[in-house]
Amino acid sequence: MDQTTAMYVAQGIHGLAYGMILFLVASGLNIIFGMMGILNLAHASFFMLSAYFCYQFLSMTGSFWASLLLAPVATAVFGILLERFLLRRVHGLGHMAELILTVGVSLVILAGVKIFWGTESLPVKIPSFLSGLVPIAGMDYPVYRLFIIAMALLVLAMMALLLYKTRLGKIVRAAVSDADMVNALGINMPLVFMLVFGVGTWLAGVAGVAIAPILMVFPGLADQVGMDAFVVVVTGGLGSLSGAFMVSIIFGLLSSYGVQFVSSLAPVLMFAFMAVVLAIKPTGFFGERE
């Protein structure tokens, strides 16, 4: 296979991996939004927090797998605390208050991260068999990117099983259409909300660990990836998982090929795409509510 095709394929893999990470973040946002109507602007900060936790656990235990398991869980605990002690208190005040509250939380997380870990970029080492290249069908693929894609698909499959095959999933799906009614039927909705919020932040946490070895860990991580994730959610349609999946992949590829062909304008491409979609359909691709 010649050089040019190999480059295109490699860029494609990079794009897909980034798209998958975006999707993990965006699906967490979407689950929380679909269920509770809250757009969690601190979501990207949880994503960053998890990357820092990963760095911390890695330097403490030395095992990437342990950090991969522990960091998202630790992040989810913070998410649950946020829901239980802050968001629940302001729920009656409407969406504006919730949005602004989450902005406040994201600022506090950003400041906290800077206090504890400083502002430098911290490297995260991956196990040796995940780094390097693997030859498949005459071409070399970066193993870690393939690993990210596989992991994201696994998480996605788990979420689908949870949503469609378990009792909890049934409750969640019912609550998306009418939370008050489910509450009236004797289900402890505040508890379900708390769990869903935890799962959402856990997803952000998984994405945070996945991206840590690629981009390194630094305080601007939340802005860089978080903004992309918000754009994905809005473009795909708030509360729509399939929309988020489609747009994540498109954006991942747009960003990797964009860097290659129009490098100075790459960050603008996404916003331009979003503007075009929203000009045609203000609720995004698959969105029904605002």
Partner: protein, 331 residues
């Protein structure tokens, strides 16, 4: 009658204090006051959207920044441009941006409106960084000539001395604030509040909801542009920092602290934030932490801000006066 007299006395006292402020407090606090006044106008223009029309924008800084860039570019490239047209150009460029965006944004509301602005604000920020040839990238545009404030045949003042700039800024920003105040008192201002409270009913009454939103949006953009323009003149520098997301959060914080939906709330909030920033920057560098904590505490404990707090306390103590009349504007 006495209330009216009292009001006049208060306004005269305020004008007197403002007139002698530079003499009383010296150079440092004069400059601080100019910053406060710029952010007060910025927040009030933001509150026109959030408080009066119910539209939360996470990207209001783009009008602020574009206003600043408009003025700076005009002064840099047009020889012999005088001061007021330069400010006007800044405001017009913000209006132009508002006009471009409004067909898109008036169709959405709530969360989508907020997110759309977060994205557009970030887009403007990225553009300002990338279009190095026009905007100067990270360095921004600095050192452009600042013309004299002159009305031909009447006055010609050099506004470079801080004291003169203070009077220029106060007059311009005060006039802008008065214009916004006037707008909220017109029948159009009432329709605005109606759109916030019940857009459907306003529609049934025969008023055009999207067009109303568009007009408010452009007006808010225009005055944010004025604020940004004065900011650029004040610093003699405009950089991409004026477009970033923290600049968009500033008016949100100020409005929430002061009291959303009340006209003077954002001004009070701007003053409070200015004092807090002044105090904390002496003690710590963690301004983000302080702002974040303030936002959380305000939302959890005093969601209506200081003005709302005063109002509810008033109602508790003076239970006889009609309670709902005051809350009409604020919710």
């Amino acid at each position: 009658m006495t209330g009216r007299v009292l009001k006049w006395i208060l306004w005269t006292a305020l004008a007197a204090v403002l007139a002698f402020y530079p003499k009383l407090f010296g150079l440092y606090y004069t400059n601080l006051f100019v910053t406060f006044a710029i952010f007060a106008l910025f927040s009030v223009s933001f509150n026109l959207l959030l408080g009066y029309t119910g539209l939360l924008s996470f990207g209001h800084a783009m009008f602020f920044g574009v206003g600043g860039y408009g003025t700076a570019l005009a002064l840099k490239h047009i020889q012999g441009l005088s001061l007021l047209p330069a400010v006007l150009i800044g405001s017009l460029s913000a209006i132009l941006l508002g006009l471009i965006l409004c067909p898109l944004v008036v169709r959405v509301s709530g969360t989508a409106f907020a997110m759309l602005h977060l994205a557009f604000g970030e887009l403007m920020h990225v553009l300002a960084l990338k279009l190095r040839g026009i905007t100067g990238g990270e360095d921004g545009i600095g050192g452009f000539p600042i013309p004299r404030f002159s009305i031909p045949g009447i006055v010609s003042i050099d506004i470079k001395p801080p004291e003169n700039f203070y009077y220029f800024a106060i007059c311009l920003l005060g006039a802008s604030l008065w214009m916004i105040w006037f707008l909220t008192k017109t029948p159009f201002g009432q329709i605005q509040v109606g759109v916030r409270d019940n857009a459907k009913r306003i529609d049934y009454l025969g008023f055009k909801v999207p067009q109303t939103k568009a007009v408010v949006y452009v007006v808010a953009a225009a005055f944010a542009g004025v604020a940004g323009s004065v900011y650029a003149l004040f610093q003699n520098l405009i950089s991409s920092e004026s477009l970033n997301v923290f600049k968009s959060f500033a008016p949100i914080t100020m409005t929430m602290i002061g009291g959303v939906g009340s006209f003077f709330g954002p001004i009070l909030g701007a003053a409070i934030i200015q004092v807090i920033e002044e105090l904390t920057s002496r003690l710590t560098e963690q301004v983000e932490l302080v702002v974040g904590l303030i936002l959380i505490l305000v939302i959890v404990f005093v969601p209506m801000g200081c003005v709302g707090l005063v109002r509810s306390l008033k109602q508790k103590w003076i239970a006889h006066s009609a309670p709902s009349a005051h809350l009409e504007k604020a919710s």
